[in-house]
Symmetry: C2
Subunit: 442 residues, 2 copies
């Protein structure tokens, strides 16, 4: 399609990058061949390609650029489950939740669970090596990707890996494309490893009057056990979620942990009891646990609603910094200091168990000064994470918004290595130019 | 060192490639800086580098070539465990078993378990993306590699990833180096993800009078459950192992399955009961199960001894082909046909649960004709695997011995992609030339 009005829906992802450009055309592919034809056309005419799945990205990795061809993969949604090899073969536009549901029909489970799982695509998950809540115990997307079909920069389609747990013939190219954010090729098929259905989890919720107590509880827990979920929300987030859900959260708490154990039989009860004791030793003001699935899920839903709930308060710059776990307290306190210094609200939610935080910087889009202060804080949070030995993005991707900090994080040698691989696979620089790496746009 | 007699120990790996060359020198590195200095010297003087860990490779990936510098990493063996981040930071020369032991001291577990785990190095495991017996449930080496220090072809040392479960900043270069068999860089440090200690397994052993019944039992099991081990030995292997162990294996059986369940509490008993029923439905001639750890481990040790036991019968060409699980029966029958046609003994052991087989082709090294027939069979087994939609190497690596078949397996497009990445990272072609890919030797 080339009608400006229709194309508008394909120009932005959830990062809402105001600098998103105007595409030349949007191609809604229905097959690998469609993608190949589009890429060949782009290569011949020196056009930039921006691939996109569900458009739920948070770093601007699928923002349009002027004059590009957008390859939308939202119509490619087939899912096939093979219970014998315990794999799912999936087209990139299928939603994460749809893959989970198809696997569940065979008593199998696809673990990675971004909070957006009901509206994010598997193609996007693979492109960003997406994480989620259960990763603290079950790993991230790349741990489940066994094979890919990828359309390369010259239009060639290659099949990498497949439904084999073991295959070491040649370089690990499958894994190279995971997390490449559309800069090395366009993914048109994914083979995913599935695992047995998760056991029903027990859930614990604990409130703290001090951030230090909450983060210390996280460290004390991970030193001794391995919960299947270990999430954190700060006061701003708790209040924003309560405003939407009216579920009776403790709005005076400085921090709240939402924890699950899916250990078998009596082990879950023992784990929950130990976590309760740790929270009490760290001065929890209120701790509650339940085996009831519906009650437990209500708290998980509350946690997943955090981003949309905080979004009610203003526009957001969504952070995604991660630190080695022992630095979690320093990171949270440092973010608090940045919030005060820049006079912007920063709500903090975190996949606390693996040190991956999502500071949500709130600003009024009509207030130019506040917008500028929010932008400053956005960079300062990344600087802080780097200083603490952490990463600028744990699971959202670099996209266009975080690119200016990538070199600071990686250092010149690793950045150069990234550029060498990019140049080898996309010598014309037509694949998602401007995302992740700065390359000369065609 | 440069004395020919001393260097001899560093010329071969366990593939015993007769065409191994004579190195110019062997450098036994004790630090990343040692490796950098050696690589810089090699780059300046246009010398080939062959990195090696414990020399336990089975595909000739660390066979010397004439005039090369061998970088031996066997002295770099430090292991540090961090229980809070649940990671191990390991130098490449440390043995797999040493990492397991260090993790176990903190009630943690490093799952990948090649049969050679007591004498293979972590560096070699990462270089080949090694597998093992527990992979059917717990995945392979790459699933546990979070970070690497790598010395590149120009002597630059880069740190990739780290002790963070989530980090998507930049391309997935960590994973690219896993399985690269020394052709992209020299690994000098590895950060591994650890998991909680494995539960004590129950063990089941079942004999079958027909190969078809044994392979059908494998399919019936994997369709319904997920054992923590699912191994196969054929009659030739059973007899070779019995000759060494005298443990009373059923030497008349055509095939034997060794299966473990590490499910919790009563679930293991239920799983073992279901597997027993499946084996009986597939006409097992003898089935035995035990919760006794020592008895169970004796059978696992017997399975791990298969390669050395068969090696008593002659020299070996060690195969490592894998197929999609439904093709396991066709693969085993096809190998039998090749054995008959070429009149060479082929003992078959298999990580049956993930379709990864190790046909061991036995020949008399003094009998030139038999050696030639063995070599023909070696290639025919790979051709068969490719025809069945399988891989030429599941976990040993391509090395030098399997390289001629790599193009047949990958096809021209994927092979070209491998070459492009190799050329981007090692433009001079000095890193392990002749292994995996054919590149112009410097």
């Amino acid at each position: 399609m080339t009608e400006p009005v229709k194309m508008d829906a394909f120009r932005w992802d959830r990062a809402n990058d105001p600098s998103a450009g105007v595409p030349l055309a949007v191609v809604r592919a229905t097959s690998t061949e469609d993608v190949q034809a589009t890429v060949r056309f782009a290569a011949t005419h020196g056009l930039a390609i921006v691939p996109r799945g569900a458009g739920s990205g948070l770093s601007g990795g699928s923002s349009a650029i002027d004059g590009c061809l957008i390859i939308a993969l939202d119509l490619m949604r087939d899912i096939e489950i093979d219970p014998v090899t315990r794999t799912a073969t999936v087209q990139p536009g299928a939603f994460n939740a749809e893959v989970k549901a198809a696997a569940a029909a065979h008593d199998l489970w696809y673990p990675p669970d971004p909070s957006s799982f009901e509206f994010c695509s598997i193609g996007g998950n693979v492109a960003t090596n997406a994480g989620g809540l259960c990763c603290v115990k079950y790993g991230v997307t790349t741990d489940y990707v066994l094979g890919l079909t990828v359309v390369l920069a010259d239009g060639t389609a290659v099949e990498l890996g497949g439904a084999r747990l073991k295959d070491v013939a040649g370089l690990s190219l499958t894994k190279l494309f995971v997390g490449s954010e559309g800069t090395l090729g366009v993914i048109t098929r994914v083979v995913l490893r599935l695992v047995p259905a998760q056991r029903p989890p027990s859930t614990l919720v604990a409130s703290f009057a001090s951030l230090d107590h909450a983060t210390q509880a996280v460290l004390d827990i991970t030193r001794r056990m391995r919960p299947s979920m270990l999430e954190f929300m700060d006061k701003t987030t708790i209040n924003a979620v309560e405003d939407v859900t009216k579920m009776g959260l403790d709005c005076s708490a400085e921090g709240m942990l939402i924890i699950q154990s899916d250990e078998p039989d009596t082990h879950a009860a023992a784990e929950i009891a130990e976590i309760t004791a740790i929270c009490e030793a760290n001065h929890t003001t209120e701790v509650f646990s339940t085996d009831d699935l519906e009650t437990g899920e209500a708290f998980v839903v509350a946690r997943r609603m955090a981003i949309p709930a905080v979004e009610q308060k203003g526009s957001l710059l969504l952070e995604d910094v991660g630190v080695p776990l022992p630095e979690l307290g320093s990171l949270v306190r440092g973010i608090e200091a940045i919030s005060e210094a820049r006079q912007v609200t920063i709500a903090v939610i975190a996949h606390a168990g693996d040190g991956n935080t999502h500071p949500l910087i709130v600003f009024d889009p009509m207030d130019a000064d506040e917008r500028a202060r929010a932008q400053t804080a956005y960079g300062e949070v990344m600087d802080l994470a780097i200083a603490l030995g952490g990463t600028i993005t744990g699971e959202h991707g670099v996209g266009r918004l975080k690119k200016p900090w990538l070199g600071d994080y990686l250092g010149p040698n690793v950045l150069a290595l990234n550029h060498r691989v990019k140049a080898a696979l996309d010598p014309q620089g037509i694949l998602n130019p401007g995302a992740v790496l700065d390359v000369d746009v065609v």
